[in-house]
Symmetry: C2
Subunit: 346 residues, 2 copies
Amino acid sequence: MKKKPTIRDVAAKAGVSIATVSKFINSTQRFTAAVERKIQAAIEELEYHSNPLARSMITGKTGSVGVAILDICNPHFTNIVKGSNRVALEHGYNLLFVDTEESQAHEDELLEALSRRVDGLIVSTRMPEEHMEKVLGFGKPVVFSGRPAPAGIPSISIDAYAAAHMIGELLVKQGHRNIAYLGFAPARPDKERMRGLSDCLEAHGLPLMRFEVRGPTIVDGEQACSSVILRKDKPDAVVCYNDMVAIGFMAVAKSLGVSIPEDMSVVGIDNIPFGRFTSPALTTVDTQSERLGEEAMRLLFRQIAGDNPPDIGHIFLEPRLMMRDSTAVRALPQRESATPRLRKRA
Amino acid sequence: MKKKPTIRDVAAKAGVSIATVSKFINSTQRFTAAVERKIQAAIEELEYHSNPLARSMITGKTGSVGVAILDICNPHFTNIVKGSNRVALEHGYNLLFVDTEESQAHEDELLEALSRRVDGLIVSTRMPEEHMEKVLGFGKPVVFSGRPAPAGIPSISIDAYAAAHMIGELLVKQGHRNIAYLGFAPARPDKERMRGLSDCLEAHGLPLMRFEVRGPTIVDGEQACSSVILRKDKPDAVVCYNDMVAIGFMAVAKSLGVSIPEDMSVVGIDNIPFGRFTSPALTTVDTQSERLGEEAMRLLFRQIAGDNPPDIGHIFLEPRLMMRDSTAVRALPQRESATPRLRKRA
DNA sequence: GTGAAAGCGCTAACAG
DNA sequence: CTGTTAGCGCTTTCAC
């Protein structure tokens, strides 16, 4: 653990001033070949690496960006991290990572502390409206993902309304008449998903039941299952808040003797990689999580670079339906007042 | 984006010296109530928050720890991150995150840069032996996870040998006689897993076939499947490098008409959460990924704090067999030279 | 081209 | 108890 050489050591060894070394390192200026060679030699000999902290203090740039997410164990967020990390790396940036789940209470303190160590922030949590202003007050570029941001602040998300609407159309087309949404109200996109679904069903003259899950995880999906499956008027299709919930739900449904999709269709949202491997394979909507992370990071770098188109507004990523085997065409028991196939334009 | 107040502003407003403010902030000293009140007031009025970079430069402590992993999309690593994050948070530390997959080539440069911004490092990648010394040369505390480290450096992993041995015992006991290992040679634990398995089988007088997968992912498991399943002498059980590979393998096997576990048993390693939800549910060995992350981080903090028991050596976490439905008892076709059920002690 | 000097915001002796 | 004084390692005018 020998002491790290400083710029001063290099300057001494090369027989030049520290200013010269600094300029050489940052290639802010060229020098005579002889000088450059000497500096280079000194650097290599000493194995000098400049101290990023000291540099940051002066330049105000840290070379890191922060990403705050809800729960790294949810593949949706994992993919966001993957995507943002890729782009950050391309720009030579490090990723500072905050998993909020562990510490919702202190989220803003954490973010405040974080904001001092990074050049910008991607926030992808359930943070209440009021806090957003506070985060913006940190004075660092921010992009919000998963929700619209205040005017002038870039944000990006999937079109949750469209996603849910899509699912509704599919289910209706397949002949389901008794559709339920197993939602998670505290989550940001829940409202939009609910709205997309109910708008769609309403247009077809169909009702929508709503159930609630305690959290957006597999375990919560498992726990919620019985309460919807054991009802007299149980739905013939349930749209789950996300794939995790759907996976848990399906597992318990099966164990309770309800077969999917024969007795009941199940659909998730997110298109996590494992959805292909459940049994039956999960029908879902792809929310392009990884791309979301990438684009969010690009948006952030655009801000950091300062070339901000005046008001980007909110960017929507297009959802894509992934039809698999957890949904099936239902033979209509009675074709009572089937509304005509008129689509309302979004 | 108004300018951040500095300690000087606070001192001026409170009518004391900056040293006093500094000591107050770090609670390195108490002052008269009047002074403390004035400082506190000034801080709140100005919304002052000390600049961690400036502090770091002097104290040499950054308040961040780095975690380098292979691929955040593999739940095994996701859980490691989850675990280390939890512990880091408890200690008031931030997590700087490096996903090596994206950048294997520059791994050491990346780590070197990272090492300057953190107080310690957890390295959980495939980094070649030689590089480990280099990483240690950064002069920061390091703990290696997933492999033994050079003498004196703490490291932690699951007991891969024991894990594989366990699986071997199970399969033999279930009557499998034709066992294959679908390994991934470049991975660190591969050798130990192979050894554990083959030692076990050898003790029972059984052979071990070996196949190779191109990577440790689901897709690679899918791709490798046909080459082992379409053989004349196809195994009656295959042990996969990890759960991801096993999941891919099972899916393709099914689609190729080989039913699991009736025609062939499949077992994974890691016990990722989704293993419960494949069909059939995956038999595997729990490698306690989250705990691994936690313990690694604890080890790191012990080093950072400086109270290092002389030589911790390598810590092994105990694997646990998770018997599920992808393995089944096999009726022995011919009971030729069945070795007696003698167990060799590990 | 090159170097001297003035800090970035903060902490750590050391005086008083 | 409180303040003064040096820097941490580096970048950045601004002279030479």
